[in-house]
């Protein structure tokens, strides 16, 4: 199996990944898509168009393949080189550029592989990158390690709702103590933000289900939860609109979006407990 990395001229992220492979003794072929690798990449792209992400700024490099899997972006490629597919939950293609790396998900990965995830973060941090991580409260012990090692520069916690709705919104069991622990850890990072998306909630799971958006009162409860766990009303707290068209759950895709002006009502409700609450621009 032949490892190929498609890189581009002046791509620091590509260089970091190549350094990683050299240091670990992983053999690879480097193809610069602006020079000798141009045609190879065009063929590769044509054959794998669906597997390659093209963002608003174009294709994110480096693009790596071992002949079976394709990984793209500094975080994803390093994670794959470090731990194979088992780190997929922790790392995805990010959207940030320059010195920032995101797409690092504390709650989505399998905690059995925390050591490998930490190793990836350490490598990135050691190469001068700034790391933005996200969490929904799960895997607080992973976040604790990240804090202890000083690996994250910015942590965004999606507090999905009041504790009473957490399981219903996530659609899975979750240890609520884990969520509270995460809330208490998050403000200890150099930069952080709590946020909540006003999602539809399945109130009664029957046919047809009764679904309604989180209410301003429930957002207030969420803000109150953050206050009660941290003892402070002064956290950066951000309320976001749910986009039904982007929903994975078919039942949510049919819903009417909330009017952006309704966000003000949610903000007012939340500000009773988090005075710096802001809302998504529309």
């Amino acid at each position: 199996m032949k490892n190929v990395i498609f890189s581009t001229t002046g791509c620091i992220r590509c260089k970091i990944v190549k350094d990683f492979m050299n240091e670990r003794g992983i053999p690879f072929v480097d193809k610069n898509i602006k020079e000798e690798g141009r045609e190879d990449f065009q063929q590769f792209y044509t054959a794998n168009r669906r597997a390659i992400y093209r963002g608003p700024d174009g294709i994110e490099f480096p693009v790596f393949t071992d002949g079976v899997e394709i990984r793209q972006g500094i975080g994803s490629v390093l994670a794959y080189l470090q731990g194979g597919k088992k780190l997929d939950g922790f790392v995805s293609i990010g959207a940030l550029h320059k010195e920032w790396v995101d797409g690092l998900h504390v709650s989505s990965g399998n905690p059995e592989y925390t050591e490998d995830f930490i190793a990836v973060l350490m490598y990135l941090k050691g190469r001068g990158m700034k790391l933005k991580l996200d969490t929904n409260g799960k895997n607080s012990h992973v976040l604790r390690q990240i804090l202890d090692y000083g690996l994250a520069d910015f942590v965004v916690m999606e507090v999905v709702g009041p504790l009473g709705l957490y399981k219903r919104i996530l659609g899975a069991e979750i240890d609520l103590n884990d969520v509270e622990k995460t809330i208490s850890i998050v403000p200890q990072f150099p930069k952080y933000q709590f946020q909540t998306t006003i999602v539809p909630v399945i109130r009664q799971d029957r046919v047809p289900p009764i679904i309604s958006y989180m209410t301003p009162e429930e957002i207030a409860e969420t803000a109150k939860l953050i206050e009660e766990v941290t003892g402070s009303k002064k956290h950066p707290y951000f309320i976001r609109l749910f986009q039904p068209k982007e929903a994975q759950d078919e039942r949510f895709r049919q819903m009417e979006p909330i009017s952006p002006n309704m966000l003000f009502t949610y903000r007012t409700a939340a500000r009773a407990y988090q005075v710096f609450t802001e809302i998504e621009k529309h």
Binding site: R267, T268, K281
Partner: protein, 480 residues
């Protein structure tokens, strides 16, 4: 602006027959919200109540503010907007726009209001027949500040203008942010260049760019243009003006987008050139339906210094690159941009340009259209409020006797006239005419009267010429 050392204050001219008589409210420097009658009697002072501006409401209510943010940290931020009754009780209050923690100050919610607000029921905040502002409910539009960064404008911290709509219960239900629409304002590359480098930086709060400086905001209300099908003038739309950019704009209430605008450059069409450069203006609003001139835009075009553009000898950097040393009150047809009525130094009877600066307030000021067609003009920097007829006769004049100790001016930000019935607690006052004094014979005690003790004829002295217009033998040409 050419003041002698000694001159009268209070009411100096009053013709009850030609005036639209009522009470006048204004913020008297470092005194509070002051109401005077037509003879200048001070019938009520809400002591210490701030007014940026003060406005009367039917029933003897006044709107104002209980305090201002420490200027070391904020720039013209009023901490709240309150409605106060005749006895001084606060009956409505809004302050929950932003939670502020200034060093050494009590952390608190602030409205960060500045320059204007409008209570539902009335579009402009002054008397319009049949359009009474609500006093026990309704929403309020409030002009506020917000600090933010917008790299399209500058890398520097901006003091941005926002407009919010607040319910009687204090909930914000709508917000508009000025900088979000930067691409719609039509700035030239020269203007963008200086805006980027210096968005009118003020030292407050460690430095912030007061780049637009909106100083008035009102609703269009029902109007003939919309009735005729012109969607730009939807009654819910909002008109504002930005003193630092010379822009007057109308925004669509639904989308927030600009739907009508003049400025920032007045050289871009023959209509704008004919209108002339509007500089540092204040109080641009649409005259509400039911008042003479309804549908026209009335404003106080200060002159002074404002705008961003190409550098010139008076503006080496291009900031505040438009200058004029007199003021104009303009009434403009918004569909043709033609001036329908104006009050400038010429209409005031001053010879231009030699005497133009006698009608000049380079900052603050305003204009209110009255039901009889008169216009109440606040020439603010000199603390002068006048009522002029459509034929430009001054039928009422008042000079504020209150000079500040901190700001050593008798400035009046903006005065409003309200009908007697808006203050039912008072009987309508006696109206005593005040004849205009002949200043040629008016003397202070001890000064000699006009007239010669001896007059001597010198043989051979020629009589003065009567030159034709434009030929006056003066050092500079006259505008005649």
């Amino acid at each position: 602006m050419t003041y002698p050392s000694v001159y009268p204050t209070g009411v100096t001219i009053y013709n009850p027959e030609k005036c639209w008589n009522g009470y006048t409210v204004f913020q008297a420097a470092e005194q509070g919200a002051l109401v005077i009658d037509m003879n200048g009697a001070e019938v009520q002072l809400w002591k210490g109540l701030y007014g940026f501006p003060n406005k009367l409401l039917p029933g003897g209510y006044v709107l104002g503010h209980t305090g201002e943010r420490n200027p070391f940290y904020g720039m013209q931020d009023m901490i709240d907007l309150v409605q106060v009754d005749w006895e001084g009780n606060i009956v409505w209050k809004f302050n929950m726009y932003e939670f502020i923690e200034d060093p050494g100050e009590k952390p608190q919610w602030m409205a960060r209001q500045h320059h204007d607000y409008q209570r539902e029921g009335n579009p402009v905040g002054y008397y319009v027949p049949g359009m009474e502002p609500r006093v026990d409910g309704g929403n309020t539009l409030i002009l506020c500040h917000k600090n933010l960064k917008n790299p399209k404008i500058s890398e520097k911290l901006l003091l941005d203008d926002t407009i919010i709509e607040v319910t009687w219960e204090g909930d914000i239900v709508w917000e508009w942010i000025c900088s979000d629409h930067f691409d719609e304002y039509g700035f030239s590359e020269e203007a963008k260049n200086i805006l980027c480098r210096d968005p009118n930086m003020r030292p407050n709060g460690g430095g912030m760019g007061d780049w637009m400086h909106i100083n008035s905001m009102s609703v269009l209300g029902s109007n003939k243009w919309y009735d005729a099908g012109d969607e730009r003038f939807h009654p819910d739309n909002i008109i504002w003006d930005g003193r630092e950019t010379n822009i007057i704009a109308i925004i669509d209430k639904k989308s927030g987008n600009i739907v009508w605008k003049i400025g920032p450059d007045y050289n871009t069409s023959k209509e704008l050139k004919a209108l002339g450069w509007i500089i540092g203006q204040h109080h641009a609003h649409m005259i509400p339906k039911g008042l003479p001139g309804e549908g026209n835009i009335l404003l106080f075009d200060n002159g002074g210094w404002a705008g961003y553009g190409a550098p010139n000898p008076s503006s080496p950097t291009g900031r505040m690159n438009a200058l004029r040393d007199y003021s104009r009150v303009l009434e403009i047809d918004p569909t043709t941009l033609k001036i329908v009525w104006q009050y400038t130094p010429a209409e005031a009877g001053y010879m231009m340009p030699f005497d133009s600066n006698r009608f000049y307030s380079p900052f603050i000021s305003g204009a209110q259209r009255l039901p009889n067609g008169n216009t109440l003009i606040t020439e603010g920097s000199g603390g002068r409020i006048i009522e002029v007829t459509p034929n430009h006769e001054i039928v009422w004049e008042y000079i504020s006797p209150y000079w500040g100790k901190v700001i050593k001016l008798n400035m009046v930000y903006r005065a409003y006239r309200a009908p007697y019935e808006w203050i039912p607690q008072l009987d309508p006052p006696k109206e005593t005419p005040i004849e205009r004094l002949d200043v040629k014979t008016f003397r202070v005690p001890g000064a000699a009267p006009i007239g010669r003790k001896k007059e001597t004829t010198v043989e051979g002295v020629l009589p003065p010429h009567t030159p034709p217009p434009g030929f006056a033998p003066l050092c500079v040409a006259a505008d005649v």
